[in-house]
C-alpha cells in the first residue's frame, strides 16, 4: 500500500482487534484532551537492552540455509529463501533488509526511546542504526510518504482506569459485557495500560538472515507491555505479522528488553548480513 492510504490503513489496523483469530475487541479508552506523553501509563523512555533468551540460534548467528523452523512460511517464501544469496544483496547495499520493522524488535540490540514531541515516540535502535516513529496522531506528511524500511506506525495507549476497580475480585462477566459497559462520565486517572502499535507501508525485507522474506504487503500489530519484578523493569513486545504472500498464518513473536540505567552500552553498528 502506498501514499494516501497509509494512514487510513494503519489506523484501521490499529482499531481492528489485532486482526487475527477473530479476537474480541479490546476496550480502548480514547482520550483526546491530553497528549500521548501526558497520559502514558508507564514511562517508556530510556535505554532498553534486548534479552536473547529464545530463538538464540536464529537471532545471534546466521542459521543454516534451509533452516526455517518456527516461521509459518508459504511455499513461495521457501522458494524465495532457497534461492536467496547474500552476495548480491550486500553488493547492492541491501544489508538493512534484515533490519526492517517486521523483524527489528528481534534483532539483538539496544533501544533508546524518547518523546520526539508529545504525540510521537522515537525509538532509536543501535543495531543497524534504525529509527522508528510511533505516531499517536495522524501525520499527513508521513502518511503520504512512500514505503520505508520502518514503515508507518500508528500508536495508541490502551488504558486501564483504576477508578473503576472495586475493592475485591469480582466474578467473570458474560462475554462482551466488558466491552459494552464502559465510558463513565468523568474518567478517572489511568494508572495502567499498554501500548498498541500498528505498522503498514514497509519495504519488503528479511525475517532471517538466511533469506526468509516478508513482503511489502505485510501488516504488523504490536503490544508493548512494561512490567516490574524485583526492582527490574522489563519491556515485552508481542509482534503479530500478517503477510498473505509469504506467511501461511499470522506469525507471532515476543521480544523482551531490560531497562538499562544509562546509555553506556549503546553501540551503533551498521547493518550486516552476517
Amino acid at each position: 500500500m502506498k501514499g494516501p492510504g497509509a494512514g487510513v490503513a494503519a489506523a484501521a489496523l490499529l482499531l481492528a482487534p489485532m486482526g487475527l483469530w477473530a479476537q474480541q475487541p479490546a476496550a480502548p479508552h480514547e482520550i483526546h484532551m491530553m497528549s500521548a506523553q501526558a497520559e502514558a501509563p508507564f514511562d517508556p523512555t530510556g535505554y532498553w537492552v534486548s534479552m536473547i533468551t529464545h530463538d538464540w540460534l536464529f537471532r545471534m548467528v546466521v542459521p543454516q540455509r534451509g533452516q526455517y523452523t518456527d516461521v509459518p512460511i508459504t511455499l513461495k517464501a521457501k522458494e524465495f529463501a532457497d534461492t536467496w544469496q547474500p552476495g548480491p544483496d550486500e553488493a547492492a547495499g541491501k544489508q538493512c533488509e534484515a533490519y526492517g520493522a517486521a523483524v527489528i524488535m528481534q534483532v539483538p540490540e539496544q533501544l533508546h526511546i524518547t518523546w520526539q514531541d508529545p504525540g510521537t515516540l522515537k525509538v532509536q535502535i543501535d543495531a543497524g542504526m534504525q529509527t522508528r516513529l510511533l505516531l499517536f496522531q495522524a501525520n499527513p506528511a508521513l502518511a503520504h510518504a512512500p514505503p520505508s524500511r520502518q514503515g508507518y506506525s500508528v500508536a495508541q495507549w490502551m488504558l486501564y482506569r483504576t477508578g473503576q476497580a472495586p475493592a475485591r475480585q469480582r466474578a467473570i462477566p458474560p462475554p462482551g459485557a466488558q466491552q459494552r459497559a464502559n465510558a463513565p462520565a468523568a474518567p478517572p486517572e489511568p494508572h495502567y495500560g499498554w501500548l498498541r502499535v500498528s505498522t503498514t507501508d514497509m519495504l519488503a525485507g528479511l525475517l532471517r538472515k538466511n533469506g526468509v522474506p516478508y513482503s511489502g504487503q505485510t501488516r504488523m500489530s504490536e503490544n508493548w507491555v512494561v512490567t516490574e519484578a524485583d526492582g527490574d523493569q522489563w519491556l515485552t513486545v508481542t509482534t503479530i505479522l500478517n503477510d498473505a504472500e509469504y506467511l501461511s498464518q499470522p506469525y507471532v513473536e515476543n521480544a523482551t528488553f531490560k531497562k538499562e540505567p544509562n546509555g553506556s552500552q549503546w553501540d551503533p553498528t551498521a547493518c550486516t548480513l552476517d
Binding site: 479490546a26 538464540w56 475480585q169
Partner: protein
C-alpha cells in the same frame, strides 16, 4: 412466550451493562489457551542435547547441565513420576486451561485462578484473595505456591516453594530455591506470559522469557486427562539394573551433549553450555568468531512447508492388461 424471552434477554443485557464497571476490575482469564507462536523443536522432545544457549547458567548450572541425561530420569527412584515444573506452561508444546476458583459462600468472589492441562505438568493455583504465604519450611511442590495481584489488566504473580527439577527438557537444572515472577497480560483473545525465573543455585541472573497464547475452543489435554496417574507398575519396568543415574560422568564420550551442537549447529560446546553474557547483544561479537555456520542445505528438522505431492505419473497404456494384485502387498 416470545415476550417473556425478550424480557429476560433485556434484563440480562441490563445486568451485563451494570456489571460492566465491575468487570473492568479484572480480566477474564478463563478458557483454553493454545500457543500462538510456533513451537521451536529442532529435535523431537525438546531442545537439542547440550543446547543451553541464552540460559544464564552459573558454573554449577553449567556443570549440571553438561552431564544431565533426562531421558533416564526414572533410573533415580526419587525422580519417578516427576512432573515438569511450572516452566512448562511456557515452554511446553501444548496449551493449558485457566479456570477461576470461586468462593462457595459468595459466588461473586474469585479466590484464585488455576492453570492446568496435560498429564505431565502440575496445576498452578494463583491465589488472589490475600492468601498468607506458607512457612519457608513448607513442602516444595512442582506447582509451588503462587499469589497474584492485579496491576490494571495484568495479573502479576509470584511463585515460590517449587521443588527441584528441569528448567529445560534437555537437562538444564532448576533448584528448589528458584522463584518465578509471572505476568499474565490478556489482550483480547491473546494472552502473553512474561516469565522471569530466578534461581540462586544455578542461575547467575534472572532469566526472562515470554510467550503468547490464543483463546481456543479445543481442550489443551486433547482427551488425555489432567491427572498424572503414574504408578510403580508403569515405571519399574524402565529401571534397568538399579545402578544407573540420570547423569553422565564428566567427560563421558557417550554423552551426546559433548558434540551435538558443534556438529549439527556449528556452536562449540563451551558456548552451547550457556551463561549470562549470552543473553546480551554484545555477545554477538564473541560468538561470531566461534560459530561455524553449517555448510549445505538443512536436511532435518528444518521447518517450512512441504511441497505438495505430485500426482503419480500416468503410466503408459499397457499392451496387455495385468491381473489385479490379490491380498496385502507386505
Amino acid at each position: 412466550m416470545k415476550e417473556r424471552t425478550l424480557a429476560v434477554a433485556g434484563l440480562f443485557t441490563v445486568g451485563c451493562l451494570l456489571a460492566g464497571g465491575a468487570a473492568q476490575a479484572q480480566v477474564d482469564l478463563s478458557g483454553n489457551w493454545a500457543p500462538a507462536e510456533g513451537f521451536v523443536q529442532l529435535v523431537p522432545n525438546g531442545p537439542p542435547p547440550g543446547d543451553f544457549l541464552g540460559v544464564p547458567l552459573n558454573p554449577d548450572g553449567r556443570a549440571m547441565a553438561a552431564t544431565a541425561d533426562p531421558n533416564n530420569e526414572s533410573e533415580e527412584l526419587n525422580r519417578q513420576c516427576q512432573n515438569w515444573l511450572v516452566d512448562y506452561f511456557l515452554d511446553g508444546p501444548a496449551g493449558f486451561e485457566i479456570r477461576p476458583i470461586v468462593d462457595p459462600l459468595d459466588g461473586d468472589n474469585v479466590l484464585a485462578w488455576q492453570l492446568s492441562g496435560w498429564i505431565d505438568r502440575p496445576t498452578l493455583t494463583i491465589w488472589v484473595d490475600g492468601h498468607a504465604p506458607p512457612s519457608s519450611r513448607a513442602l516444595h511442590t512442582w506447582g509451588g505456591f503462587a499469589t497474584g495481584r492485579w496491576q490494571g489488566d495484568t495479573l502479576a504473580v509470584s511463585i515460590t516453594h517449587l521443588s527441584d527439577g528441569w528448567m529445560l527438557r534437555n537437562g538444564a537444572p532448576q533448584s528448589d530455591q528458584a522463584t518465578v515472577s509471572l505476568s499474565l497480560a490478556r489482550e483480547g483473545n491473546l494472552l502473553t506470559e512474561i516469565f522471569i525465573l530466578r534461581d540462586p543455585v544455578y542461575l547467575s541472573e534472572p532469566w526472562p522469557r515470554a510467550k503468547t497464547f490464543r483463546l481456543t475452543d479445543n481442550s489443551p489435554t486433547n482427551g488425555t486427562g489432567t491427572v498424572n496417574d503414574c504408578l510403580p507398575a508403569q515405571v519399574l519396568p524402565g529401571i534397568s539394573d538399579g545402578y544407573h543415574a540420570a547423569r553422565y560422568l564428566p567427560g563421558a564420550k557417550d554423552n551426546p551433549a559433548r558434540t551435538y551442537m558443534a556438529k549439527d549447529y556449528g556452536v562449540p560446546q563451551r558456548v552451547a553450555l550457556g551463561g549470562a553474557q549470552q543473553m546480551y547483544p554484545s555477545y554477538q561479537k564473541v560468538v561470531r568468531k566461534l560459530y561455524k555456520r553449517p555448510q549445505g542445505y538443512c536436511q532435518e528438522n528444518c521447518g517450512g512447508p512441504r511441497r505438495p505431492r505430485q500426482p503419480p505419473a500416468r503410466a503408459a497404456p499397457a499392451t496387455q492388461q495385468q491381473p489385479a494384485p490379490v491380498g496385502r502387498a507386505d
